[in-house]
């Protein structure tokens, strides 16, 4: 995979097809079709199971105020936590990727890269308990400080939570969880920045930072965005960690630091499904359908961003 293109197309030849070609082409095609069928099947299941909740009268939906009133705070909670995680994780991940690819000594870079990848292998339940037992109690002083000094912002309106189990803490833990995804993709793209561009920048007297700014970052931009979108996808769907850490179940609010937070769609399903019956199940599945659509849109956006800059992307 070098970035430089072959100067000329090879001349067209009569292709020889052996059984292996046909078998491989067939199985690859089959796999491609299979994943489409699975996706369609999931969508069909969600829609058919959500239908009773979509058509039911408002007062029969849990909460008694209709489906929109039930799901709206959940959508807000899901987006709040995920976007906060993205805001924290993306700059950090880009920094880690740049350090590994252009600053760190080779041996340190290899170890560090391995350690960051290892973060992705930790189960989310473990992140949940870590967030509950370690992060949340240590975040309490910050919550109190933010409530005292930053309360003019709607995000820090307070009152501060006494346990630290807030949307803010959830955002930080989610940031740690999506860090390896964003940094792995960024690293891959940065390391593919064309050597010619880099050397040209250095030859013109650019410092290392100027070289990175002129040659590496523009080249890697769409890759970073694609990585961030993948991370966002994971943060949106994260279930166990949020269910364990967040003190959720409240209505829609932008306040990140009080003990009344909107739950997220995925964690709400995990918490409510075990005891749900009848229309309650349909309502939960309807909220799952909304999450499905949100993640689909996020992924399509990521595709679109990457394709728009296809000639510079490291993913092609």
């Amino acid at each position: 995979m070098t970035a430089t293109k072959a100067p000329t197309e090879p001349p067209v030849q009569r292709t020889v097809r052996r059984p292996g070609d046909r078998i491989f082409a067939g199985s690859a095609k089959g796999s491609g079709i299979f994943i489409l069928i699975v996706l369609a099947g999931v969508a069909a299941f969600l829609i058919s199971e959500a239908l009773p909740a979509l058509t039911a009268p408002a007062d029969e939906i849990p909460g008694g105020e209709g489906l929109t009133a039930y799901i709206a705070p959940l959508i807000l909670g899901t987006l709040l936590g995920a976007v906060l995680a993205l805001i924290v994780a993306t700059p950090l991940a880009v920094g880690i990727a740049l350090f590994i690819t252009y600053y760190a000594p080779r041996r340190v870079a290899a170890v560090l890269g391995y350690v960051v990848d290892l973060l992705a292998a930790i189960p989310s339940v473990v992140y949940g308990f870590w967030g509950l037992a370690v992060v949340a109690p240590r975040m309490v002083p910050f919550h109190e400080w933010a409530a005292d000094n930053l309360s003019f912002l709607p995000f820090f309106a307070g009152p501060a939570s006494t346990s630290g189990r807030t949307m803010f803490t959830v955002g930080l833990v989610l940031a740690v969880m999506i860090l390896p995804i964003i940094s792995a993709i960024s690293r891959e793209v940065f390391s593919q920045a064309p050597a010619l561009h880099r050397e040209a920048a250095l030859a013109l007297g650019a410092t290392r930072w100027e070289m990175i700014r002129m040659a590496v970052l523009p080249y890697g931009k769409s890759g970073v965005i694609a990585g961030a979108m993948l991370g966002l996808g994971r943060a949106l769907g994260e279930t166990m960690a949020v269910a364990i850490i967040l003190s959720g179940g409240a209505g829609a609010t932008l306040n990140l630091i009080s003990n009344s937070n909107p739950s997220t769609i995925a964690s709400n399903i995990a918490l409510r499904f075990p005891e749900a019956t009848g229309l309650g199940v349909n309502t939960l599945i309807a909220s799952g359908l909304v999450l499905f659509v949100i993640t689909l849109v996020v992924n399509m956006l990521a595709r679109w961003v990457v394709n728009r800059r296809a000639d510079f992307s490291g993913a092609n």
Binding site: L132, S161, T162, S163
Partner: protein
């Protein structure tokens, strides 16, 4: 009555055999078949086939103990209990997918009609076999126990009483040194029978302060919440000034509140929980073997603790299948036996049913038979 005593003795003997090795099998089987000939031909010497239960997860620890004890005596019965939740358990029972249900709530009228159809048109039994006191637990430095009135508890959880040195709390605790720590009430984030019973108590005992209808999902918006009993206990343990409601057996190092009953304050002991269930009125208009009760939240009786979770076993008096009838009968016999209740209490920390509840349940268990 003689009959029921005999059956109970057999149940106990059979249960005792659990701890013995193979040689005891013959003896216990003999005893069981003896019971069988006494109560019609419903209990065979050897039981086999399957026994499927589903329902309340509150009973899960107790159910594990019952399963172990029951299978020790009847190793050939395939026993399973799916802790899918009370609602799901009742649904599965009514649809005939489960042989019996565990449920934190009694069947409503509609379910009762459907259940009767499922039970060959016959009676349904509902036995309050799992009783667990719900304690108000708190984490307050230097304070191990508090006396609280229903109105005070409701005020704390509704957010109108916000500090521990509030005059309402101080009035009932003249001897305690109460700090000015803020109160953080913690409720369950999931749908649970514990929440249902706790809010039912507040709704009945403190109607002026607590105006929300009882519900398995916490009815107030906002506030600190956590997942499951372990979750709320964990949060309270790590947060100074936090208070929650949970199974009394899970108190650990937390402070436990005594609740005003009559003119006294009652602690959430197993005995007090069993006592209030025993003295609670039956739900009216139910069948002969339907022992659904309305827990008397407003009791003034001495030695009674009104915040209890009662979980039922729901099944048929008549089963189409002889094997099912025999298995359900043998299992319920074990569950209500003194040994079964003691094993469960040891494992789950719940309250054992009293003798009079046992006698009442025994009449239903003895009546279980094959339809037609």
């Amino acid at each position: 009555m003689k009959l029921s005593t005999k059956t109970r003795a057999a149940g106990v003997t059979a249960a005792l055999a659990t701890s013995l090795v193979l040689s005891a099998c013959g003896a216990s089987n003999e005893e069981t078949s003896d019971t069988g000939s006494g109560g019609g031909d419903s209990t065979a010497a050897e039981l086999s086939g399957s026994l499927v239960g589903a329902g309340a997860s509150s009973q899960q620890s107790a159910m594990e103990a019952w399963q172990a004890g029951f299978q020790g005596v009847y190793p050939d019965v395939q026993f399973s209990y799916d802790p899918a939740g009370s609602g799901a358990g009742r649904e599965q029972f009514i649809e005939g997918r489960a042989d019996f249900a565990g449920s934190d709530a009694a069947l409503d009228e509609e379910e009762l009609t459907a259940a009767s159809e499922r039970c060959a048109g016959g009676e349904v039994f509902e036995l309050p076999n799992y009783i667990s006191p719900i304690a108000v637990l708190f984490n307050l430095e230097g304070v191990d126990s508090l006396n609280l009135t229903p109105a005070t508890i409701a005020g704390i959880f509704a957010g109108t009483i916000t500090t521990w040195n509030d005059p309402a709390i101080a009035a009932d605790n003249p001897d305690a040194t109460l700090p000015s720590t803020a109160i953080t009430p913690v409720h369950r984030a999931d749908d649970s029978g514990t929440t249902d019973n706790f809010t039912d108590y507040l709704f009945q005992a403190a109607p002026d302060v607590w105006t929300s209808e009882p519900d398995g999902v916490w009815p107030l918006e906002g506030g600190e919440s956590a997942q499951g009993t372990s979750g709320v206990v964990e949060v309270v343990t790590s947060t100074d000034g936090a208070v929650t409601y949970a199974d009394a057996s899970r108190a650990g190092e937390l402070g436990v509140a005594s609740v005003a009953v009559g003119g006294e304050f009652a602690a959430p002991t197993p005995e007090a929980a069993a006592a209030v269930v025993e003295n609670s009125p039956a739900v009216e208009g139910r069948g002969e073997y339907d022992f659904a009760i309305e827990v008397n939240r407003l009791t003034e009786g001495s030695g009674e603790y009104p915040i209890v979770l009662v979980s039922y076993h729901v099944g048929c008096i008549e089963y189409d299948d002889k094997e099912k009838a025999d298995n359900v009968k043998a299992f319920m016999n074990y569950v209500i036996s003194a040994d079964g209740q003691a094993t469960a209490a040891e494992n789950a920390g719940n309250a054992e049913i009293s003798d009079s509840l046992r006698e009442q349940a025994q009449t239903a268990v003895d009546a279980i038979t094959t339809a037609g």
